[in-house]
């Protein structure tokens, strides 16, 4: 994996990538290009949203996670399960059955990620009394990274409070400490529906060190649990289940599940394109009188999480039904208030700007002027045949010496028409971008 200052959750497996460029077209920060017939990622621009992973037809994009066997390094193995996980299953499979299988697979204790939501919401309402308005929820890690990269002027709006997963993990750490169990015996694992959360835990924003020992991908774990169910794996282990969760907690990761409990004028916006549109307006100061923004990168929020496999509307509906069976309050809320907090150890969130042209502004202006002139030469259809996501992106790459003007198929056709370029030359360019194999006749 390529190392940068930021931990990344995604990796392209070149041997599987067919260079179809689907990922390049959906990347919200234009961090992908195709060359040599393979997708390449600009690591500093990646925000771990997982849109590329979602669209990849050959599953060539891998989500980095921790080796499952790693859980057995610990005597006590706690799995923090998000409510969206249970909603991945058909309603006929009881939650008790799922608990038993999780225990059989190796965990000694299960708890809902959202157990901390009730105390967190109290802290949020308290925090919002003195916050920069509108405050932006700190729940969705892709939104935080999007703001850092594309909307650095808005970082002050991000709530400096920990998300539920971190608070629940803190609670467990504290609980085991109170029970006198050595820290090295306790492994806290998080089952994640989302790629952004992996990076968020490995290198959290705000300089906070997470007590979570490992992250497990929800799609991988779903397969494991469902296979055990299908093969009727005998249950020989017992697992301790903390059943305390409120209806608020269950619904927190769904659209509106947070904002509905926040005082004042609030908006819930889901889907990357919708979030970007709104942040543009907020940055232009066109938004007035809004106190709180619940922004979620995925359509239908975590129900549409990247590692969620079932239809997102069915998931959201299952979560609503599950919530209806839960009380409004749960019995551990007071304990949470006593032993943990969302406000500790959180430093100011730093902008993480993406250098488009150059750090030196004079140089940047020159390059930008060059790119603007180049753009006028291009057809403006954003076909992607050059290996860049748009004509504008190609122009930018050219002035940064990362691409050649002849990469544009329209310009090449023009040069050929004028007799300035040979057929061999244009073939060589296409092969360079899309790989030699593409231009061999298949039987």
């Amino acid at each position: 994996m390529s190392q940068t200052t930021y931990h990344r959750a995604l990796e392209i497996m070149s041997d599987i990538c067919i260079g179809c460029s689907h990922c390049m077209k959906v990347c919200p920060t234009e961090a992908l290009r195709v060359s040599g017939g393979k997708a390449k990622i600009h690591v500093d621009w990646c925000i771990d949203c997982g849109e590329c992973f979602r669209i990849c037809p050959t599953r060539a994009i891998r989500v980095m996670d921790d080796d499952f066997k790693h859980i057995f390094d610990f005597k006590h193995r706690v799995l923090l399960v998000p409510s969206v996980f249970y909603a991945q299953f058909d309603e006929n499979i009881s939650i008790e059955k799922i608990y038993a299988i999780i225990g059989e697979l190796g965990f000694t204790e299960i708890c809902a990620v959202e157990q901390s939501v009730d105390s967190l919401l109290n802290e949020e309402n308290e925090y919002l009394k003195n916050a920069v308005m509108p405050a932006i929820s700190s729940f969705c890690p892709s939104v935080i990274r999007l703001i850092q990269v594309r909307f650095p002027s808005l970082v002050d709006h991000i709530m400096q409070l920990l998300p539920p997963i971190e608070i629940t993990a803190q609670y467990y750490k504290n609980k085991f400490k109170r029970e006198g169990i050595p820290e090295s015996d306790l492994g806290i694992f998080y089952l994640t529906p989302c790629i952004g959360k992996i990076a968020a835990i490995k290198s959290p924003v705000g300089g906070y060190a997470s007590p979570i020992n490992g992250v497990i991908n929800m799609d991988f774990f779903f397969n494991k649990v469902f296979l055990a169910y299908k093969q009727k794996l005998p249950i020989t282990q017992t697992v301790k289940v903390s059943r305390e969760i409120s209806s608020k907690g269950v619904l927190f990761p769904t659209t509106g599940g947070e904002s509905v409990h926040i005082e004042g004028k609030t908006l819930a916006i889901d889907g990357m394109a919708n979030v970007i549109d709104f942040l543009e307006m907020l940055e232009n100061e066109e938004i007035e009188g809004v106190d709180f923004l619940e922004l979620r990168a995925c359509d239908e929020s975590c129900a549409g999480g990247i590692l969620s496999h079932r239809n997102r509307f069915l998931i959201a509906n299952s979560m609503k039904e599950y919530a209806a069976s839960k009380p409004e309050k749960h019995n551990l809320t007071e304990d949470y208030k006593k032993y943990c907090s969302a406000v500790i150890h959180m430093e100011k969130i730093e902008p993480r700007s993406m250098v488009k042209y150059d750090r030196d502004i004079e140089v940047a202006i020159k390059k930008m002027e060059g790119a603007r002139e180049l753009k006028l030469l291009f057809p403006g259809i954003d076909c992607g045949a050059c290996g860049a996501p748009s004509c504008e992106a190609l122009a930018e790459d050219i002035v940064k010496d990362q691409a050649d003007i002849n990469s544009c198929i329209f310009l090449r056709t023009l040069y050929e028409k004028r007799g300035e370029m040979s057929l061999e030359e244009t073939i060589a360019i296409m092969e360079n971008i899309w790989g030699k194999d593409r231009f061999i006749k298949k039987k």
Binding site: N284, E285, S353, V355, A364, I365
Partner: protein, 136 residues
């Protein structure tokens, strides 16, 4: 770098287009976020002023390493009393304009506060030109 945008009087649905474009440009140039904010606030106010009060106008932007120079020239009624217009809360905007959320009368002082240099040239019955300079 030189940029130019035409602004039509009365076209509120497109008001803010030039501000958005210039914002995008400055972000790509890695200009400090707080400076961009000042540019956008000042320019957006000025752009909406053309839409709300003038018949048409042109926004010229000159971006150099040291800062941005904005010139907004409009053909319109002009400002009869510039001192009065510079007062907070003073507005001649029509009721329709105010109902759209524009025209709270904070425009000019707000522009001035965000600019490093600000000047108005106006001729009643002909039009107004604003010069706004913001240093990087």
């Amino acid at each position: 770098m030189h940029l130019e945008y035409n602004v039509e009087g009365g076209d509120f649905t497109r008001a803010g287009f030039a501000s958005s474009q210039i914002k995008k440009t400055l972000k790509q140039l890695n200009v400090d976020a707080t400076v961009i904010k000042r540019v956008v606030v000042a320019l957006y106010e000025a752009e909406v002023n053309i839409v709300a009060h003038a018949y048409r106008g042109v926004i010229y932007a000159d971006i150099k390493g040291a800062g941005i120079q904005l010139r907004l020239e409009d053909e319109g009624p002009g400002i009869a009393d510039v001192d009065m217009a510079m007062k907070r809360g003073f507005s001649t905007a029509s009721r329709e304009v105010r109902e759209m959320g524009f025209g709270a009368g904070m425009g000019l002082p707000n522009i001035s506060e965000n600019a490093d240099n600000f000047s108005i040239e106006t001729t009643v019955g002909k039009g107004t030109t604003l010069n706004i300079e913001i240093k990087f």
